[in-house]
């Protein structure tokens, strides 16, 4: 219940945060919403000696919608859930975010924090994969952009360099003919995803012209379902096509088991939830 002692810094700019990261290296942890880090520190599963609280960096907050959607890394789930503009242009984001944790978690938790932590059962990871989002980062060498598909490298590991921060997540607005959905089987205690499936589809001339499906919760790393995506491409997106495309979903990916859901069962649920997410996404694409 009590974290180990640490030195605390609350930088007010990205540059200041990065110089602190450079100064303290591995000893330091970034604190954003804190809803993964602080519980881990209370159980003493994490004991950083330096905590860099970035929540005072105002420039990292907020949602900007113009040609694309730019969401500051420190934007809370709550802001995304209730953002009026997002519902029309990328409804899957508020839909998925509303299923994260609970109201209090969503009031504090942030998009950037969740992606950087890369919990294998986090909801947002699958959504940014399905949206093919770009993750903007800032490090000692300046800014760079990492495709979501390159971002999650291993269990709790990302393509972030040690002294790098996520600053924003950028994704496209969904237009006519496009649809996305998130379907989740929540863990009964932790509320994380036992299986979460995010799907994006585009219909052109009655055919599926683009398709992305990503799974969280089931395995050590959030992953795209390439076989399913390929199988659905150029189909008519009918229920039969979805059923056929999802026949093999989850069969080849790495899947973990625990006391709540065995590996076998999770695999089966990957198929079910992929189907459900795709079916909803297709219905939305049809308008």
């Amino acid at each position: 219940m009590i974290p180990s002692a640490f030195a605390y810094f609350a930088p007010t700019s990205v540059a200041e945060a990065i110089s602190l990261l450079e100064q303290y290296g591995d000893e330091a942890k970034i604190l954003a919403g804190g809803h993964s880090l602080i519980p881990a520190m209370k159980l003493r599963l994490a004991a950083p000696s330096v905590l860099i609280d970035i929540t005072k960096i105002a420039e990292l907050r907020g949602v900007v919608i113009n040609g694309s959607i730019n969401i500051g890394a420190l934007t809370t789930w709550h802001t995304i859930e209730y953002h009026d503009g997002l519902k029309g242009v990328c409804g899957v984001l508020p839909e998925a975010v509303a299923q994260i944790g609970d109201i209090q978690v969503r009031n504090r938790g942030t998009l950037g924090g969740a992606l950087a932590h890369a919990d294998p059962s986090a909801d947002a990871t699958a959504v940014v994969l399905a949206l093919d989002a770009q993750i903007r980062t800032h490090g000692p060498g300046g800014e760079r952009t990492i495709a979501a598909s390159d971002f999650f490298t291993d269990m709790l590991s990302t393509a972030l360099e040690p002294n790098e921060l996520i600053t924003a997540v950028i994704c496209n607005k969904l237009g006519a003919g496009e649809g996305a959905a998130y379907a989740k089987f929540p863990h009964p205690a932790s509320r994380y995803a036992i299986v979460g499936a995010a799907a994006y589809v585009k219909l052109s001339g009655g055919k599926v012209s683009a398709c992305r499906v990503a799974i969280t919760g089931a395995g050590p790393v959030p992953t795209r379902q390439a076989e399913t995506e390929q199988a659905l491409l150029n189909s008519d997106g009918s229920d039969e096509a979805v059923a056929k495309a999802t026949e093999e979903s989850g069969t080849t990916m790495d899947v973990l088991g625990d006391i709540h859901a065995s590996e076998d069962y999770r695999r089966a649920m990957v198929k079910v939830y992929t189907k459900r997410a795709l079916t909803t996404a297709l219905a939305r694409a049809r308008g």
């Binding site: 605390y8 804190g34 209370k42 609970d102």
Partner: protein, 159 residues
């Protein structure tokens, strides 16, 4: 030690705290506001819910230093003098509590819920309280209590 200045229930406090001090310990140990409770160590139970700058947070998963410069409302600050908040009244009228341990957090969470959704359905009330555990009531009367408050607050607003 870090010096922080926090306005709690309308009163400003300046205190030196260790950076690792949890907001819930700050409230309970330093300010003697023991109405905010601790029921778990993993942010599940919601017994510690307070309002930080007007939104509900789990004070066991917030550092006291993060509340520097902020406004905090706890269960002790919810009533308007001797007049109970409609939620406090609802919990009393509808037998929405038994042992009372989860109640402060439950009420603070419900207050946030009603702010976003002043007229929730029973299902929305149940969903909105997903961050708070109660082991006594089976939630049936908690739902009634929140509904009572919602009804009362909507009448008040209409006036």
């Amino acid at each position: 030690m870090t010096t922080i200045s926090v306005t709690v229930n309308g009163k400003q406090y300046t205190r030196d705290v260790e950076p690792r001090m949890l907001l819930v310990h700050f409230l309970r140990e330093q300010l003697n506001l023991t109405g905010t409770h601790i029921g778990c160590d993993t942010s599940q139970c919601g017994a510690c819910v307070v309002h930080l700058n007007g939104v509900s947070v789990k004070s066991c998963t917030t550092l006291a230093v993060q509340a520097d410069g902020a406004t905090v409302t706890t269960i002790e600050g919810l009533a308007n003098g001797a007049t109970l908040h409609p939620l406090q009244e609802g919990f009393w009228e509808k037998h929405g509590l038994q042992c009372g341990y989860c109640t402060p957090g439950m009420i603070m969470a419900a207050a946030d819920l009603l702010k976003h959704n002043p007229n929730p359905s029973d299902a929305e009330i149940r969903h909105g309280l997903e961050g708070n555990l109660c082991r006594c009531t089976g939630y049936e009367n908690i739902v009634k209590a929140v509904r009572y408050a919602a009804d009362k607050m909507s009448v008040t607003t209409a006036d």
